[in-house]
Symmetry: C2
């Protein structure tokens, strides 16, 4: 006899995503998620720090990808070129998980609490990018500013990519948005 079904964490993630999409984040209780996954509420909180975190478990790997891309940029690359490569790489990843990314974003956009959590993940991402730039020898405040700019471009590009479903691929939107940003900051 197996005592428990495998992959309880995965089942909790699936159950949470389905319920949040179905009836909204606020109208879903942790008890319901746990029941749908065939587990108890207590077990949910052993896998996820809180009710929101279940939607953000993948953000760690995105951060790693960004940091590694910055780290492996050629020495000749400027700080902005390094982070540009990073957000384009992130764009590739999210473009691959297109439908999932869009569904997840719809859920987040519908709940202020989830938007808060998303923003702090992006802030952590900016902080990690700034670290990576400093390791490349970029001084403050240039490192922090470049990192914040990268995240800003990421946010705007992602939002545009989500809203118009029949448009360009995300990496392309990232690059275009960065060019637009350069134009905006140059002309003054």
């Amino acid at each position: 006899m197996v005592r428990w079904q495998p992959d309880s964490r995965g089942r909790l993630e699936e159950a949470a995503l389905a319920l949040y999409a179905e009836r909204g984040f606020e109208n879903t209780t942790v008890a319901e998620i746990a029941a749908r996954a065939g587990l108890t509420e207590r077990t949910f909180f052993r896998h996820f720090a809180d009710k929101r975190e279940v939607l953000f478990w993948g953000s760690g790997s995105l951060q790693e990808l960004l940091v590694e891309t910055v780290a492996s940029a050629p020495d000749s690359a400027s700080p902005l070129e390094a982070v540009a490569a990073a957000i384009e790489a992130a764009g590739v990843l999210l473009q691959e998980r297109r439908d999932f990314s869009r569904q997840r974003q719809a859920i987040i956009a519908a709940s202020p609490e989830l938007r808060e959590r998303e923003l702090i993940k992006l802030a952590s991402l900016a902080s990690a990018l700034a670290d990576a730039l400093r390791r490349r020898g970029v001084e403050e405040p240039a490192a922090s500013l470049t990192a914040e700019v990268a995240v800003a471009v990421f946010k705007v590009a992602f939002a545009r990519w989500v809203e118009k479903s029949n448009k360009k691929a995300l990496p392309r939107v990232m690059r275009d948005s960065l060019d637009e940003l350069k134009a905006v900051t140059a002309g003054a």
Copy 2:
């Protein structure tokens, strides 16, 4: 006989700030805040949507100031110049409330929950700035990108101003940071 002491909202704000500073946000209960203000927990929640909001009541007026500054910028001003004027004006306001701003920021920095709330206020600010730019005829995505850049500069400048207490005035730090950003985005 007066039935209640006046300015219950103000007393709640004061009590909350003092207790958060003294023993930290997470180690303070709403019941304690209410008791210190001579009120009940229920009354706290009639004045503030939640336990965090008590620290962010002033953010509305900051947002108004930014939006109005953008709106009243001369027609000849570029989008970046308009938001630059706005964050410098915000810098003046915060410089006037220097000690309060710093104490408040120390409390926020110590609590992830409060940082989340701060970030969503900044996001709302970016959104309001983008609206103001669109009313000036700026198209998307330039409006959103410029607004995000403004908030990014604001964040970085404010952080630098807070950490080195014996430095330049905040509006000056804002301007310098914006110049640094221009340098960073131009060189690639």
